[in-house]
Amino acid sequence: MLKVRLIPTILLKDGRMIKTRQFSEYRDVGNPRTVAKVYDAQRADELIFLDITATVENRHFLFDIIAAVAQECFMPLTVGGGIRDVAQARAILTHGADKVAINTAAVERPAFITELAKKFGNSTVVVSIDYKKNAKGKNEVFTHRGTHPTGLDPVAWAKEAQKLGAGEILLTCVDREGMMTGYDLETLKQITSSVSIPVTASGGVGTIQDLVDGIVIGGASAVAAASIFHFTDQSIFKAHSHMKQKGLSVRK
C-alpha cells in the first residue's frame, strides 16, 4: 500500500536556511545541510528545497547545497526557485535533485511545463502554485514569491498544469504560510478533487493534527511543513507516529 508522505520544506536564501511568515519577515534558521541530515536521520519521506536567492551570483550556493545533501541523504529531493529553462532544470537534476519545482516561469510560459515533462518525464515536474485571497476575497494565484497577481484561479491553473504535463502539484496558501494555523483545507480539497495527479499541501501547519487533516479532509497525497519542525518540539518521528495512530498508512 502506498504510504502518505511527510515532507519538510527547506527555504534557502544565499546559501542559508530561512523561515518566513506569509512570504515575508525573513529569519535565518541555520545551515541547510545540517538540517537536511537531521530530517534524513528522522526518516522524512522526501525533502523540498526552495531557493529565493535574489541575485544570480549567489545561485552557486544552491548547487553546492543540493550536491552536498545528495551525497549524504539517499532520499527524494525536490528543488525549486527561479528555474526558467530546460538547461537550468538539467543543472539542478545533475547536482542530485530528483524533481524540479517551477512556479513563476510556468505561469509566464505554460509551454515550459510540457518542455520539461517531455525531456525529463512528467513525474520529474512539480508545478508549485502560490495563492492568496485577493482584494475581492477570491483565491488568486500569485507569482514572484507572492508579489505578482496573475488573475488565475488556483483550481483552474492546477487543472491546466496537469493537462500540460505536471506530475505533481505543490500547493501553498500564502496567507497561511508560517502562521501555524493549519492548512486552507477548503481550497486544498477543491484542488485535490479536481486533478488526478498527487498534490502536496503546504503552508500553515502548526500542530501534528494539521498534517492528518491535510490528508484526511484535504485529500492531499503528501503534506509539507517547516515551522513546526523548527519552532516547536515536534519532530518527524512524532508526526509520523501521530499520523499512524490516526489510521494513516505511514512508512515503516
Binding site: M1, L2, K3, V4, R5, D40, R43, D45, A67, A70, Q71, F74, M75, P76, L93, T94, H95, G96, A97, D98, K99, K118, K119, F120, G121, N122, S123, T124, G167, E168, S196, I197, P198, S221, A222, R251, K252
Partner: protein, 205 residues
C-alpha cells in the same frame, strides 16, 4: 568497475554517490567502450521510454549492452525506466521496441481508473514473489520509493521477484539470470536501498 549508463537525462549523481559510499569503484559513462570494459552495469532511468530507447540505439549502446549482458552475462541492474527498457514493447507515447530481455509489455498503470493518483509517487511496501539474493538482509515487506506512471507486465511469471500494490499488483522487481531490475529507486530508498545496492556489488549470478 561499475559503469552507470548515461543517456543524457535526469539524476545519475545519487546512484553514483551511493556506490561510492559503499566503497565500489564506479563511473558514469555514455560510451559503448566503457560498457565493454565494465564488470557490472547499471542502467538507471528517468525520462520517456521512446526517447530513452532512441538515445541508446543512436549511440549504439543497445548493442553494447546486449553483447555484455546477454552475451557475456555481466551482472546488470536496471532502475525504474532501466527496468522498463528490458521489455519487448513500451506503450508510452505510442508503441516502441525495448531491449526485449524480459518478456512482456510496459503499460500505463491502471490505478487512474480506480480514482488513484497518477504518477504512483512515494514509499510503497513490497510483496516478495520469490527469494532473491538481491534482497538479502532486507525485510520482505520493506518500503521502497517509487515514482512512475508505467509498469512492466511480465509475460513469464518466473521473472517476477517482487510486487507492490497500487490499485493493481505492479511489478516491483524482476530477475532473470544475471539481469536484475527494480521499478523503485534503491538510491532514493535510504537504508533499504543502500542494502540492495550493496547486494548488487557482491552479486555473482
Amino acid at each position: 568497475m561499475i559503469v552507470i549508463v548515461d543517456y543524457g537525462l535526469g539524476n545519475l549523481f545519487s546512484v553514483q554517490k551511493a556506490f561510492e559510499i559503499l566503497g565500489a569503484p564506479v563511473k558514469i559513462s555514455g560510451t559503448a567502450e566503457d560498457i565493454h570494459t565494465a564488470e557490472r552495469i547499471v542502467l538507471p532511468g528517468v525520462g520517456a521510454f521512446g526517447d530513452g530507447m532512441e538515445f541508446l540505439r543512436t549511440k549504439g549502446l543497445d548493442r553494447a549492452l546486449t553483447e555484455e549482458v546477454i552475451g557475456k552475462k555481466k551482472p546488470f541492474l536496471g532502475i525504474c525506466l532501466g527496468l522498463q527498457f528490458l521489455a519487448e514493447t513500451g506503450e508510452e507515447h505510442g508503441e516502441h521496441r525495448g531491449l526485449g530481455w524480459i518478456k512482456g509489455r510496459v503499460r500505463k498503470l491502471a490505478a487512474e481508473k480506480q480514482g488513484l493518483k497518477i504518477p504512483h509517487i512515494g514509499w510503497n511496501e513490497l510483496t516478495m514473489v520469490r527469494a532473491s539474493p538481491m534482497f538479502t538482509g532486507i525485510n520482505p515487506d520493506a518500503d521502497f520509493y517509487f515514482v512512475h506512471s508505467f509498469q512492466l507486465q511480465c509475460a513469464d511469471p518466473t521473472d517476477l521477484v517482487a510486487t507492490a500494490t497500487y490499485g493493481e499488483k505492479i511489478t516491483a522487481a524482476v530477475e532473470r539470470g544475471n539481469i536484475f531490475a527494480t521499478q523503485f529507486h534503491p538510491e532514493k530508498s535510504q537504508d533499504n536501498g543502500l542494502k540492495l545496492l550493496e547486494n548488487f556489488i557482491q552479486w555473482n549470478p
